[in-house]
Amino acid sequence: MIAQIGLSILLGGILLYAWTEWPRAPAIGSVAMLATAAGLYFVWLPSHASWLAAEVGIGRGVDLVLYIWVIISLLVMLNLHLKLRSQMELITVLMRNVAIAEARSADVEQASV
């Protein structure tokens, strides 16, 4: 029971994170929310995980839960990658504006000489 509560808190945190990321990266947010919801479901109903694992040919329910955890981890990593890309876009815009402003001020200086 303690493990279930601990895992549920962790997964709940990830679910909240995925929900907050959804507006920026809808595809990643949606899949992460689905995977996390599935994780929460199987934490409280492990027998269903065993049944589904047998149905899809994974073998044990615990392996299915492990796979879901790996999927969630990969999605979080992908989301971090997208965040870095967004930061790079902001840096690019900033650097572009600085470069153009410098070029314009050089033009003004040249004209005034």
């Binding site: 507006p23 997208l82 600085v98 470069a99």
Partner: protein
């Protein structure tokens, strides 16, 4: 085309470590009386000084951001200078400045907003077979992704009207900008035309050209952008 009309044409050259050739490229463009802006994309060699000495307006990125970022900077600057026509031109000397006139005339006479150079409609002597195969594969992919019926999707020689330029906002800093630009042309629903141009390959330009690994990186960049808003 008269010299006065050429003054409303701004040629944007994105340059990174092009000191050996940039002076000649700029001089050739200025001979045709085009306004030239070179975006020195964080080069640590003398690219900026050589371009300035040759007579170009030089904008400098403090660090290397990539060709797509440099082109967008140049396009934005040209628009702010009231350019009527904006041309993108590679810095490695593989394009002919004389082809620009054909592109601009196509914009004027066919009343379209984009004129895209095609080496497959024109000429590309000394193009290696591997490069040809890579470009054909890229063209096949981009045609399916954008719906534009083009023969050469990665040609750096393009011309656009001021209105066309206002629809271009490149977010892909590196080589994926070529596909992104075509995607934005398709989304703008503005008219476009392909124009035959000549690409003159040299040992220098081939050494700087794209490789298979770049194609994979382009695919990753384009896929990542699809996942973002």
């Amino acid at each position: 085309m008269s010299a006065d009309r050429n003054k409303s044409v701004w040629v944007v050259v994105a340059a990174y470590h092009e000191a050996p050739v940039i002076g000649r490229v700029v001089a050739d463009l200025l001979r045709h009386r085009y306004a030239v802006v070179v975006v020195d994309d964080g080069s640590t060699d003398d690219t900026g000084q050589m371009a300035r000495a040759a007579g170009a307006k030089v904008i400098t990125h403090a660090v290397n951001l990539g060709q797509g970022a440099a082109l967008q900077t140049g396009i934005q600057f040209a628009v702010s200078k009231d350019a009527d026509y904006i041309v993108t031109f590679d810095a490695d000397g593989q394009h002919r400045a004389s082809d620009i006139e054909t592109l601009i005339e196509s914009l004027r006479t066919q009343h379209v907003d984009f004129a895209l150079g095609s080496r497959f409609l024109g000429d590309a002597p000394a193009m290696p077979l591997a490069r040809r195969a890579l470009l054909k594969a890229a063209t096949w992919f981009t045609r399916r992704a954008t719906g534009l019926q083009l023969t050469d999707t990665h040609n750096g020689l393009r011309a656009m009207t001021r209105r066309g330029a206002s629809h271009i906002a490149l977010r892909q800093n590196r080589m994926a900008h070529a596909s992104e630009l075509l995607h934005q042309i398709a989304c703008s629903r503005l008219g476009y035309v392909e124009v035959p141009v000549t690409i003159e390959y040299s040992a220098y330009s081939l050494a700087k050209g794209q490789r298979l690994s770049d194609s994979l990186r382009i695919l990753v960049d384009l896929s990542a952008q699809r996942l973002q808003r």
